[in-house]
Symmetry: D2
Subunit: 355 residues, 4 copies
């Protein structure tokens, strides 16, 4: 008898939804993709061609998918604005949930998912911060935890996308929550992971420019931004996010400790090929985050599935995803106001400086 | 209705057999592992625990496995000495065959598989030179084919294993055919691929040492060896193979053309992490070839399966695997005799120099 | 007849003074070191042994050295606190001046040197920002100027010293002006160079920690700090300075433009050696800034000498050195006050935010 | 009183002669360039403009230069064919000699210099193998000598020039002794240095091609060649030399020991700049050997001068330069004959194989 598998439904069949669906179908041995929901007719056509032959049911209504017989878990890969509503519905109908990042661009709405999850402790609810599943970040974390670099005290982290000459992300700015919420939320999650729960944010401050797309200003957004995060326990982190990398995706993180430093992706590369020609010696870079993190996305869903089936602890706490949004939002606010934004030790914003 | 899949049996459940079986089970969407054969009781126990739950039948007799109902293809991952017999039997009973490298350490025996395959042109028979499926090698090949480096004229290629303090490979020397047959056969296959069918080998010559394991001399083998391969069309290749890498697996290839150079794995690395500490800045290396080429092994079997199901051309010709063995064997002979070994343009060895 | 040379006196024979003296003696073909001044008896002993044999006169009084017959130029490598007084005296007695950075930790005092120099336009007066003479930075500047990366819009720059277990820099904090004045002033000078005169600073903000040396707080200083500099023409720069690098000196600069990026020292290394052993593949790093920039220091003084002898334009304007101090000082102030500090377009600080 | 300096004459004012002359003039504090000899009128014009102003006497006759009052040493940078005659004359008139490599393309003629030097043990006579003075090679040697990599057993070394579209080296082939004598002699010297005097060559064998310049065959030469050197103490080395590098000079050496590996210039680079643009991330390479080894050339002559003045041991034995030529010549012979060439333990060639 074949070992039992997790029956999963996928919400969304856009760029990431398609990838998740294919991964659930072919690269997650312990999961069965049984259903997919998308409100988009073209995406349903795609599902008809690529998923239906494998017995995947297609829904144009999310609530109906939740009623699919035997459904045990939902992977939410829809637009951010509906993450919370769909996640809470899934939780309330007793499904495990893996929700793409961010939970929401609002910390309050994000918190509402945590609240819902807290009422159903038997369910596994996770936010998909894929980098936590990347082999290099995990290696860094393991080595840091073993004391290799002493106390980690400074983190530099950047999420920098390749230039998209179509400027597609400008339209996206209206709903993305801004560049810190869209890009840096990954870095912030990493920082919270590496510094650990005991580190509490004290302040953030940011600056940004619009080199290529001045029209982003209408959305209070930038195409390049930098920020600083201070922590109460004398640690600091600094961020860079950009839409302007000529060579490709460059997501780099340095964790600097009192006795050493760990660098993830200091030498960005698409593969192991070097090209020597009259222009010198070069390598190509990944074109986008999925080329960089594809394996991490697969590992993420496999671990989520294992945790659901075996009732083991998830690799990260859901509440951390709220903290990440809170900090990203504050950075985005600082980008506009130019003010340093202060947090009390309990995580609430403070109106006055807390020196 | 689920798309049809290829019913595959796996011969062998040793180190590579286990990996292939798990890949066939979980990472090859279009294949079903339906049976496994191994003469080893411990390996059958492993199969009972890991494969049987998924409906995989276990055989202690190869011929019986070939009779498994519906079996369409066999992946041969047994010891090299039985590759040929098993491959020919599989062919003769109408199965597609993916055979681990080398077909045999004898060129004649290798040829017998080709002969058998030629009689059954409807079958797909492939030798598993996994590097041909590695993304970096493929990128190199594509760029070379597009003319990026002019005419490729010099190739340097090495297969260098991490030091194994247990010296396990010494016992293996009795049947491995020697270090050129075991290690460099990959490099030779790459060279034949990059230079193409029109390039014919003219001569080979080799030298070797026994730095760590003088007892290898009893098997006419070495733990480090270098060799030169000359081609009739004014090209040359040179090889290094070793069992003595302190840091990890180092399989590097340089393809040098008249206008540029492509280097695969010039910067060997286990992942994208760099570690800065008092000893400097360092990275770790893969511990063994599977850590380096795991994805290539998965891609290899997926492509083989696709070719069987869709009746499309295999990505490489079986006869090339015979040529690779022929050259590897000549290098191994030269290692012992110290003579340069000459080949006529028709591929036969020549007793006299062909200047 | 030997071509005429510049008669130079060196003020200071501490760590950098000694290096400058030896360079003037042996590595600056067009200069003659004719005199040295130091108030320190031990340093005069050193000069007696190492310089006197070459005819260099030794002074324990700066004013007396200025009277040295034929003296044409002074290289000032004394402690920062006396730079200004000595530079102005030299200028007023008609000597060319190459003054170690910074001119002063006070912008006003720095400006007084510029004022003195402006009254003597026939004299060459330069502040020794050595990185401007480094081959890699120059290559970056040339390529940027040729348009290779479009409009440079974001600069990341760091000056990070190797951990000094003796903590010698703590005592130095009392007079150094703080970590931004001591370390980042180099990065700031580079940023002003790469962005050019037309770019005017709009605001700065900073944060810092004391990971290894909490006692630095007494001097309003930190051992790690990060800062952001905004410019009026929609550019931004961000900085990191540290005393905590385990592996060695890491001075890295990225200049990110609208069409590409230039990175200086993204792969810090002591030399061209890589070491592969059981811990992986590693390289060593420079132990300190002089190991990294030794050649730049030599080139700097040679170019200064050429400019004096040939009456050609200096490679940088003295006023830029005042701007660099002004910005470094503001960052250091922000480190303490946590406030963003604003600058009017005319370079004066503003009490209120200039959004 | 200024410390005494060594009065040096330079023979030759071609490409390398000019560089040596300028280095002797400006970058060797303990040497004085007092004279230069060149038979070439244009080169004498250059000397008149660049050296005469500093008091350097110009000679069109080598013997006359040797008579220059006070002359103590000669640096020989003329064409290889006159190295021996000039070196022997200098020795016989009591001058120290630094002779550019190779001493000669004939081992016998090379030996005649050693014989002359042996009769004048008070003189310092050195062959200019500049790589021995390169900081990275020295670091490798120091670490190897300290036991870092166990017993060095395999060396890979290459000297590869950037493509010269003018093909100037073809004309040079008539007198260069061939590519192994011209290029690989450096690698051979390094191998002898790293393996040490106790290692005796047992055999060599080589192969080559003419990818770009078939006309080299007329001179029994190639534009790319590979070779293998076996040693009696179970060590091996393998070489690659080329005129066909598209990106720049690539002189790389790997010293592989039983416990680790040292790589010099595994990451060839012109400086510390990386360029990221639409083609990826790249660095430029040195255009030629002098760009790579300039500092080594300066250090070489400074150490030679120190050894002359202080009567200390030279950093290498002259006889090694004969051994290097002997091996290079044998490789070149093997390139033509295709035969493996054997050496007795006493260094003489053997007509028969010595297995």
């Amino acid at each position: 008898m074949t070992p039992s598998t997790l029956k999963v439904g996928c919400a969304g069949a856009g760029r990431m939804g398609k990838r998740h669906a294919m991964n659930l179908l072919h690269r997650t041995p312990r999961a069965d993709l049984v259903a997919i929901f998308t409100p988009d007719a073209d995406e349903r056509e795609w599902a008809k061609a690529n998923l239906e032959p494998y017995g995947v049911a297609i829904y144009d209504d999310y609530d109906s998918m939740l009623q699919h017989t035997g459904l045990e878990a939902v992977l939410i890969a829809t637009v951010t604005t509906v993450h919370a509503e769909q996640a809470i519905k899934a939780i309330n109908t007793g499904k495990h949930v893996l929700c793409e990042k961010p939970l929401s661009t609002s910390a309050e709405i994000s918190q509402s998912i945590v609240d819902a999850a807290n009422k159903r402790p038997e369910l596994k609810v996770m936010c998909g911060f894929s980098r936590r599943f990347d082999a290099s970040y995990r290696d860094a974390w393991t080595k840091m935890s073993a004391g290799l670099i002493g106390k980690p005290s400074v983190i530099r982290s950047q999420t920098c996308d390749k230039i998209d000459p179509t400027g597609a992300f400008v339209a996206f700015a209206a709903t993305s929550g801004g560049i810190f919420c869209d890009c840096s939320v990954h870095d912030i999650d990493l920082i919270l992971w590496f510094y650990g729960q005991e580190s509490k944010v004290k302040s953030v401050v940011a600056s940004g420019i619009t080199s290529l797309h001045p029209e982003l200003r209408e959305y209070n957004d930038c195409d390049n931004a930098v920020g600083i995060i201070e922590f109460y326990d004398d640690r600091v982190a600094y961020l860079y996010c950009s839409r302007m990398m000529a060579a490709g995706q460059e997501d780099t993180t340095e964790i600097i400790g009192t006795r050493g430093k760990l660098v993830v992706n200091g030498h960005a590369q698409r593969n192991l090929l070097s090209i020597f020609d009259a222009s010198g010696a070069r390598r190509e870079l990944p074109a986008h985050y999925y080329e960089r993190f594809e394996v991490a996305f697969v590992d993420e869903v496999n671990e989520f599935v294992a945790s659901c089936l075996d009732d083991t602890q998830l690799p990260m706490q859901l509440s951390g995803a709220v903290d990440a949004v809170k900090i990203a939002k504050a950075l985005q606010d600082s980008l506009v106001s130019h003010q340093r934004i202060w947090f009390k030790q309990n995580g609430e914003r403070s109106d006055k400086a807390l020196l």
